[in-house]
């Protein structure tokens, strides 16, 4: 029973973070706010965090997951979450002193980088608890079925979408500017609607 619980908790973990990244897309394209370099780094850290539970899910293709696999998966998540939290904390500290309005608009009273910091802290707690009960939660008697395929497919789709979105924003430049104001790929192109695509507000 607890073996199955550990397996589905890994799915819930990935699905939750996929939801967070999709919410980032909603703010980016819905509110027309371009992510800054630190925002992009936090998205990358979130994807690195998700590789942990995905590793545990992927191991079930080869049969039962060992305790070593389980601890490695959540170990990867902890390391990536610490990096992500450091990036988010850096961005919070950059904008913490009034009258700085912060970067972008607030969601439920907090800026996105503050929410990001909170999610990384939640990940650290979740991974800690999962490792404490590691022996009980190691997936046993489960198989890589269609729910796992859906979760893995969604993850890959979101990473690919981020790759395309960051190409739109970065163009053929090496680094993003600190406060991006337009999609570089579309800037200067004589395409219908290119001016609207390239002129997003920094927020």
């Amino acid at each position: 029973m607890t073996g199955r619980l550990g397996f589905w908790l890994a799915h819930l973990f990935v699905l939750s973070y996929c939801g967070v990244l999709l919410a980032g897309f909603v703010v980016q394209f819905g509110a027309d706010e371009l992510p800054c370099p630190l925002c992009i780094l936090q998205r990358q850290a979130m994807i690195l965090v998700m590789c942990g539970p995905l590793y545990i899910i992927g191991r079930t293709r080869r049969g039962d997951v060992t305790l070593a696999d389980y601890t490695m998966g959540y170990g990867m998540s902890i390391v990536a979450a610490v990096v992500g939290a450091a990036v988010a904390a850096r961005q919070i500290l950059l904008h913490i002193a009034p009258p700085d309005p912060g970067y972008g608009s607030a969601v439920l009273g907090l800026h996105l980088y503050t929410w990001s910091f909170i999610t990384f802290c939640v990940v650290l707690v979740f991974c800690g608890v999962s490792l404490i009960f590691g022996r009980e939660l190691v997936p046993r008697g489960v198989r890589f079925g269609w729910p796992s395929k859906v979760v893995c497919g969604l993850f890959l789709l979101i990473v690919a979408a981020n790759l395309v979105a960051v190409f739109f924003e970065l163009g053929f430049h090496w680094f993003l500017p600190p406060d991006p104001t337009r999609y570089e790929t579309f800037h200067g192109l004589p395409l219908p609607g290119a001016a609207a695509m390239s002129g997003g507000a920094a927020g």
């Binding site: 995905l54 590793y55 293709r61 696999d69 890589f144 990473v159 790759l163 960051v166 600190p178």
Partner: protein
Amino acid sequence: MAILIFAVLLLAGWLTVRGSGRGTILAVWAVALCAVLVVFNHHMAAKLSLNF
């Protein structure tokens, strides 16, 4: 650089989902993590410097 990191992350995700070897996944994941740290260090230096 961000495009390259996302490409490496996509590769890491693909290998992880396929259930590839432990060492391969860990190596690609570590490369992506180090790249994130390098870019973070670049942006730390580009903005306000910190005093510890």
